[in-house]
């Protein structure tokens, strides 16, 4: 009797130990997304419309059917004018997922200016409408008294570059470039090299880290990092006088409010270890997902101090 009981117990344990099937899929619900990001420095503007999908399995990469929606009538209003998008396509290079060409809608005659409103409407073949509005953000401007005018700074060993905007809570994506001329075989070439925030060593290799988009309206770069880059530009070249340094350019891309929120919700994470089952999905598209936003670029010139350049053996071409 005792043995029977023990055997039954073991068998029941084996029986219940089986992995239970689990399917997290609910009932499929068709949704649409519209994406359009207006760039102020071009007249070529692009929009896409896609539809949601759900395959037989939970792996979304098993869906190989391009979710792009054809025959969408997209209009955009700017300063009382209406712009109608055309469709086009280009060859897809990465065919790991979809085997078709990349399709998109575009206009090539709209170059909106900061501070103006835009409205977009996409009418789908099934009669559904996706709508949204955005305002082109103002260009970032130099913040008085907080911008280092020359490299290196007069005090300290950190370049503190701060800017300001008419609006608050926007996201900025800055990048600093060193602009210089190099003479090769008697011919002068203009070159630019981006300045990283920092280098970190990985497997004996120094990896540069560049600023990410963030709501921080400044960037701090250690002179140690700039020095390292300045030195590396002419590494192995004894002819330092062939290098004529012009200036640095700080480019700041300002995202509008919609794109800023979209970026924060999709490009940032709580942290790498917390596990959250429900992330915020920002959209400003009425009737669907996606984003209608805009971005604008600002540039600032920062000069070099001549003795600083000469400490590397370089010439100053922008005195």
């Amino acid at each position: 009797m005792k043995n029977t009981f023990i055997s039954a117990a073991i068998l029941s344990l084996l029986f219940i130990s089986c992995k239970e099937d689990f399917n997290p899929l609910g009932e499929y619900s068709e949704r649409y997304s519209l994406n359009c990001v207006i760039k102020v420095d071009t007249s070529f503007q692009v929009a896409t419309v896609t539809q949601s999908y759900l395959g037989q399995t939970t792996d979304p990469f098993e869906n190989t059917q391009d979710p792009f929606v054809d025959f969408v009538y997209i209009r955009m209003w700017y300063k009382g004018e209406v712009y109608i998008f055309n469709d086009s396509s280009i060859t897809r290079t990465d065919k790991s997922r979809y085997n078709t060409d990349i399709k998109f809608y575009y206009i090539n005659n709209l170059n909106p200016q900061p501070g103006n409103d835009l409205e977009i409407e996409a009418l789908l073949p099934n009669g559904r409408r996706l709508k949204s509005v955005t305002r082109i953000p103002a260009r970032a401007s130099k913040k008085y008294g907080s911008f280092e005018n020359k490299i290196p700074p007069e005090i300290g060993d950190i370049m503190h570059l701060q800017w300001t905007s008419d609006e608050t809570n926007l996201v900025y994506h800055p990048r600093l470039y060193i602009i210089y001329n190099k003479t090769e075989n008697g011919v002068q070439y203009r070159k630019s090299v981006p300045v990283p925030l920092e280098y970190y060593k990985k497997g004996g290799e120094e990896i540069p880290i560049y600023p990410n988009p963030s709501a921080t309206p400044y960037v701090n770069i250690k002179m140690e990092t700039i020095n390292k880059l300045m030195k590396s530009i002419s590494d192995g070249d004894e002819e330092k006088r062939h290098y004529e340094f012009m200036y640095c350019i700080l480019e700041v891309i300002t995202y509008d409010k919609n794109l800023s929120l979209y970026n924060s919700s999709s490009n940032t994470v709580l942290d790498d270890y917390s596990i959250k089952l429900d992330e915020t999905d920002y959209t400003n598209i009425t009737g669907g997902f996606g984003v209608f936003g805009s971005l604008v670029k600002s540039t600032f010139i920062i000069k070099f101090n001549t003795p600083y350049l000469e400490s590397f053996g370089y010439r100053n071409g922008f005195e």
Partner: protein
């Protein structure tokens, strides 16, 4: 304010006007301690056979039996799990308090000496509904997993749930985890977790006893809506110096204790040395955790502080770091620092008082470096001063009064999922009192009636609020007890954590913002205990809890001016039953809970993530003798809620403007979720076993412990990855071991 003064003055006039003992009667007071260490034995039974009456010791080891007919001798029987029972002859003098210090010898055969003499009689009128009192001896018999963990042991109790065996966070009767109060020597521990909540910071080695209130807790406890875990640490060996060292797969520990002039001390430290085992918890993900906790306690009993006074200085520090050597990954740190000074005074009359001055600080920080993590910084500084006074009347009734004052300074900077930043800093001061009357004059009826009066709340909403509470016990038959409780509970601090986080680094605490109304809960509890003969006990409880204005994280916050917290209401009800059978070396417990929990925010009603309809827990402990012990626990629960996937869409990824980003070619799948928590995960079940052996080699006492978690390797689902739909399971088959050496 005048009302408050009137209440205080009135109370002391009442106390002074009461006689301590009547003519022809005396009082017996005592403290029960371990004979080898002098450590107080909490919740120990003392029983006067001649009068068929008795008492249980409190968490300091003290007991008091009043109104005893004087000028005669009694046989006092004292029993405690793991100790040899004693019978002591005691004479009670007329109109006097007879004080005893009773030393119990640890039994070499641990479980076979569990004789709770007179237990039924002692507990007859105890107003103890929804309370679990657990000693460390009892905790040691449970399967340990990677580390012995008090919080994880709570999850074996009916009505207590976790969202997975990866986490030590617990949820009680439909309340969220931030509604649980954790006290260490009376001081609030704000973030009692190590390593993403996988383990509690409280090392069981330092704990003497703990009480766990699942609801309806008495008036001396406040500031939380759901439950109270009241932990009391050891005082240290009063007679001999001793050291204990132990190691598990995760941590190394060292404990030193011993006598000092007029007292004792204990110092204990625990440090992680390998996080390899944590990969089992993190789905093979490597997380370079580094944590430690350190606690100390110094007790002094000297005439310098007055007759009957005990002065205790205690502290607790815990520190967690997660430092990556890659600046493109974020770093984390969080710390708890607690310090307290207690003055416990036993007076000539049948009363005692306790003064507590304490500081509890918590700091947590996420340092994003160059990663995409959102920065977060949280500090909480809590300074508290409490005075408790306990008085026993001739009638056996008791009065307990306390004054409390504390100041909390909280600061939180973080960014929401929608990108909006929050900077919430606030300071609040709380002052008030509580009073309760324990009506214990009848052997078959007990009533505990009291209230907290918050004269000044931490927030304006908490000013001049009452929290009345009632608990009663009635023996309808000698072996059948009916119990009930009702109470109102306030909470003025909360955490800003999304409840959909199944693993979170830490929960940042803030004072409820001014725009929130006071969070309040009402508990209704009823139960029946049936104490059959021969060690068989059946308990049944049913509860209904309703919560209003629960401060809930606003995950859809988009702009800084949007509120960080939104009000929610909660409702939970259910029934819990437990059958326990103890006979000789066998201890069998079976518990079952049927529970329903709902939460409603912004007109949306849903099941919270910890809502589990049915839970069943079977546990078997067996003492083979000769210091061999074994236990097995099987846990079953119906599936927890989850939000189903109803599709994917290709979400545009904002690329770098500087690296040729085209919006027509920057997409990746993003899940579309259905109604929140509308579906259920598969059922959960798991068997854990444990085998332990103690033996001595010369002056060394060695303990070996082998545990197997998830014996039959059940693939319990923890969650599914929303970006791929892939399932992530909880702990697999996991054998672990610990070794402990004591000198």
């Amino acid at each position: 304010m005048n009302n408050f003064r009137f209440i205080i003055v009135g109370f002391f006039i009442l106390i002074l006007s009461l006689k301590t003992t009547g003519q022809g009667f005396g009082t017996l007071r005592g403290v029960v301690v371990d004979s080898t260490s002098g450590e107080a034995l909490a919740f120990c039974n003392v029983f006067l056979a001649e009068l068929n009456t008795g008492a249980s010791t409190d968490n300091r080891g003290y007991f008091l039996i009043g109104s005893l007919p004087a000028r005669r001798g009694y046989s006092l029987q004292v029993s405690y799990m793991g100790y040899t029972s004693r019978t002591i002859k005691v004479n009670i003098s007329d109109n006097k308090i007879t004080h005893l210090q009773i030393k119990l010898n640890p039994s070499t055969i641990q479980l076979q000496t569990v004789e709770k003499i007179g237990e039924r009689k002692i507990e007859q009128n105890a107003t103890d509904i929804s309370i679990e009192r657990i000693t460390i001896k009892e905790l040691e018999t449970l399967p340990k997993g990677v580390e012995v963990d008090i919080f994880r042991s709570l999850q074996y109790l009916p009505g207590v749930r976790s969202t997975g065996d990866v986490s030590a966070r617990y949820y009680v009767r439909g309340g969220s985890s931030n509604q649980n109060l954790v006290l260490l020597n009376g001081v609030t521990v704000y973030n009692p977790f190590h390593a993403l909540g996988m383990f509690s910071v409280i090392d069981p080695e330092i704990i003497n006893s703990f009480e766990f209130y699942k609801g309806g807790f008495p008036a001396e406890f406040g500031d939380r809506l759901s439950s109270v875990l009241n932990l009391v640490s050891k005082n240290g060996n009063k007679y001999n110096y001793s050291a204990k060292a132990s190691t598990s797969l995760l941590t190394g520990k060292l404990l030193v204790e011993g006598p000092i002039p007029s007292g004792s001390f204990i110092v204990s430290g625990r440090k992680s040395y390998s996080t390899e085992i944590l990969k089992k918890f993190l789905n093979d993900k490597n997380a370079p955790f580094d944590f430690y906790d350190l606690s100390f306690k110094v007790n002094l009993q000297t005439a310098d502080f007055g007759e009957g006074a005990t002065l205790t200085l205690h502290g607790f520090l815990s520190n967690d770091k997660l430092v990556n050597d890659n600046p493109q990954k974020e770093d984390f740190r969080w710390t708890n620092n607690l310090f307290g000074l207690q003055w416990f005074q036993v007076y000539d009359g049948p009363f005692f008082s306790e003064l507590n001055l304490a500081i509890s600080n918590f700091e947590g920080e996420v340092i994003p470096n160059f990663s995409n993590s959102r920065p977060r910084e949280n500090t909480v500084q809590d300074v508290s001063l409490d005075f408790d006074f306990n008085y026993m009347l001739d009638t056996k009734d008791e009065i307990k009064v306390g004054l409390f004052a504390n100041g909390i300074n909280s600061s939180l900077k973080q960014t929401s999922g929608g990108g909006a930043s929050s900077d919430i800093s606030d300071f609040g001061t709380k002052m008030g009192m509580y009073a309760k009357y324990r009506f214990l004059r009848y052997d078959n009826f007990g009533l505990d009636i009291g209230s907290r009066l918050n004269v000044v709340g931490i927030t304006k909403a908490g000013n001049f609020t009452f929290e009345p509470r009632i608990t009663f016990t009635y023996n309808i038959l000698p072996f059948v007890t009916l119990k009930g409780a009702w109470g109102l509970f306030n909470q003025e601090v909360t955490t800003l954590t999304n409840e959909n986080e199944v693993i979170s680094l830490y929960e940042p605490w803030v004072i409820n913002p001014e725009y929130m109304k006071l969070s309040r809960a009402t508990h209704y509890t009823a139960g029946i205990d049936i104490d059959f003969a021969d060690g068989l006990v059946l308990k049944f409880e049913t509860y209904y809890n309703i919560m209003h204005n629960i401060a809930t994280y606003n995950d859809s916050k988009k702009y800084p001016e949007d509120p960080d917290l939104i009000p929610a209401t909660g409702e939970s009800y259910g029934g819990e039953t437990m059958i326990r059978y103890k006979s000789g070396p066998v201890n069998i417990t079976a518990s079952y809970a049927l529970a329903y929990a709902y939460k409603e925010t912004e007109d949306w009603l849903y099941y919270p993530k910890y809502d589990s309809r049915n839970t069943l827990n079977l546990s078997l402990e067996y003492d083979f003798g000769n210091e061999w012990r074994a236990s097995a626990v099987w846990f079953y629960s119906t599936g927890l809620p989850f939000t189903p996937l109803i599709g994917y869409y290709d979400k545009m990824q904002i690329g770098s403007y500087y690296e040729q980003w085209y919006i027509y070619d920057s997409y990746s799948p993003y899940s579309i979720l259905g109604d929140k928590n509308i579906s259920r995960l598969p059922d959960y079940h798991r068997l854990d076993i444990n085998l332990s052996k103690k033996f001595n080699i010369g002056p060394l006492s060695l303990s070996f412990d082998l545990s197997i978690v998830n014996v039959y390797d059940r693939k319990n689902i923890f969650y599914y990855k929303r970006d791929t739909g892939e399932r992530v399971n909880m702990l697999p088959f996991l054998p672990t071991g610990t070794i402990k050496v004591e000198i």
